[in-house]
Symmetry: C3
Subunit: 258 residues, 3 copies
């Protein structure tokens, strides 16, 4: 039994959610359909990519992920079906594929659109997902192309003794998740001491915690989260709001000179 996941910025209230679910169940009644999120901020391709990038690897291989964020297509932004990392992704070529998958794509197909019907993303994506679920080959669903639009995610910079990253996601606990991976941090750290500065020099942390509760309730901490990203948090909540952090806020790590 195949799995189809749904991610959208429809805020759970529009009829589009019901419409896409109805079309899927009509075309492939035996599917397992899973809501990943319908609460992506409107048109926020970066947020949708972050959610899907961290959620999809947990699903079984061959899961089909439908992405309904900023879907309007045009000749330079066609509808795509992408095979990568043993999963399928269906969406509009608005840069989201590169933000989710980097260069991991194995095959990209530009979906056939029926010009007569002026069919919507909802109709096309649910139809393509069900064809895949029913055994269609990618080549039958459109024209193989080489690449999708590249959007370069903000990467940390390294200069002398300083590693500067930025906040890429605020979660529902107001934890501020950065683009500094544990791997990168440790590679540069080389067992040296360090100071982490948040909001220029306003807040400073000099150790990495393993658990939120290692500091008293209401105290600031920094840890690596479940997907290995440096996260600025407050035990029992609200770091981003209290520290006035937002997506793109800079986080600076200064390593000791040894």
């Amino acid at each position: 039994m195949s799995i189809i996941t749904l991610t959208s910025d429809w805020n759970n209230c529009d009829f589009y959610v019901g419409a896409v679910k109805g079309l899927i169940l009509r075309n492939c009644p035996d599917i397992t359909m899973v809501d990943i999120s319908h609460s992506i901020t409107t048109f926020n391709v970066g947020q949708a990519a972050f959610v899907l990038r961290n959620a999809y690897p947990n699903f079984p291989k061959d899961t089909i992920h439908i992405i309904l964020v900023n879907t309007e297509s045009s000749p330079v932004r066609p509808f795509l079906l992408v095979r990568a990392d043993n999963h399928y992704f269906i969406g509009t070529d608005n840069g989201i594929f590169s933000l989710i998958l980097g260069d991991k794509h194995e095959k990209i197909v530009q979906l056939k659109v029926d010009e007569q019907k002026n069919s919507t993303a909802i109709e096309l994506f649910s139809s393509v997902a069900c064809k895949l679920a029913n055994g269609a080959k990618m080549d039958e669903l459109g024209k193989v192309v080489d690449s999708y639009i590249q959007r370069i995610p903000l990467r940390p910079t390294i200069e002398n003794l300083t590693l500067t990253g930025s906040v890429i996601y605020i979660d529902s606990f107001q934890n501020a998740i950065t683009n500094i991976t544990k791997d990168l941090f440790e590679r540069i750290r080389q067992n040296r001491n360090f100071e982490i500065f948040i909001q220029s020099k306003h807040y400073k942390v000099t150790r990495i915690s393993n658990f939120y509760h290692e500091v008293p309730v209401g105290e600031l901490l920094v840890l690596f989260n479940s997907v290995g990203l440096l996260e600025v948090a407050i035990n029992n909540g609200n770091a981003a709001r209290l520290l006035n952090l937002d997506v793109n806020s800079a986080i600076r790590v200064e390593f000791e000179n040894n």
Copy 2:
């Protein structure tokens, strides 16, 4: 395998959502259960009707739609099961059936209520839905009646050269969807030029777009949406908020005299 859909104004946080899902799975474990929306505005029968009217036709025939908005019943507002357009609808006779279905009903049954048990809409609707899913006939579930309460949806008016409609729904992108259908518009238009006025004479549009991106980001446009309704939008969002449009705001189309 039957399908049961759920639409409510419970905002995803109350225990009622879990309760109705539990009762359904207890009574008919093999059902496919689908959330259409639990984010209908409190008691907003019109909004629920709009969502369901546009979502239900996408589902396979014989789908059972449970409507849990403004459910309290009374002798003049009984619980009903309606068969229409090859679907089943279960709800309270608060006018919502006419807003979803107009006069399309094939059969209406007033549901039997166990006076002793004072059973809630949640219990009754989930029990009736599962009986249907398990093969019960409508006649076994209550008394056949002739009609449901009619609530007349606001319709566009036509006077000389002017077609006046109104906003009936604001979607999550702040697009303002009106009650002017493409059919009606084209029938009156007869290939003439026209001017569309929004907020009396404040904003004017003189063409219908096919895509949002046909105008620059931030510009006003008008198009017919995926269900054939005239929609006032801004490319990349927020028309209703920026133009101060709300449900019932008037939209006026003036056709050229030829």
Copy 3:
């Protein structure tokens, strides 16, 4: 086919929702997975307990309920699997089990944690739930323990002729649900008259309604809700907001001296 329910404070937007669903489908693809709520207020163990306490009894026996609210564990707050009332509950020993189940537990197992892997609640809970669904015995999943942390829910007090309860939940209609059960009320009432005071002496009600519509729209009423708890409501909504009621607000019932 087993059922797994999910309750979290992730607000439907974080990738954690997708992650846990993916892991469950990977480990037990034939499961029926049900969202009870992902809109619990952040860290609000009391609210999560209220929702689950009133939702779980509607599910078939042997349903597995995963609770993802305030999940961080520590040596004094281990991860637990609890069997009670013919259901399974998986969560962190933060007091929530006592708030849902009181003393009803039949068996409690402290879950085995792989120290090497520093696995998250999401990984562990989904893995344990799937093992249960696939037939594992509780003893295989950890060490049997005697008890969980007791959190004493606020109970009504009785003094002479006065029964004082408090609001324990505000639902999405702004109904204020109290901890006064119908059983307790009737036991003390003994057919006497009574006055119910809300916000000290500001608002008074002297009868219990059966339906919201028994009073005019906008009028205050008190009734016993579908789970037998005294509820302060306004016909067509908004009691808590208009009367400024919040969780813990006192509701006082004074019985007549006879």
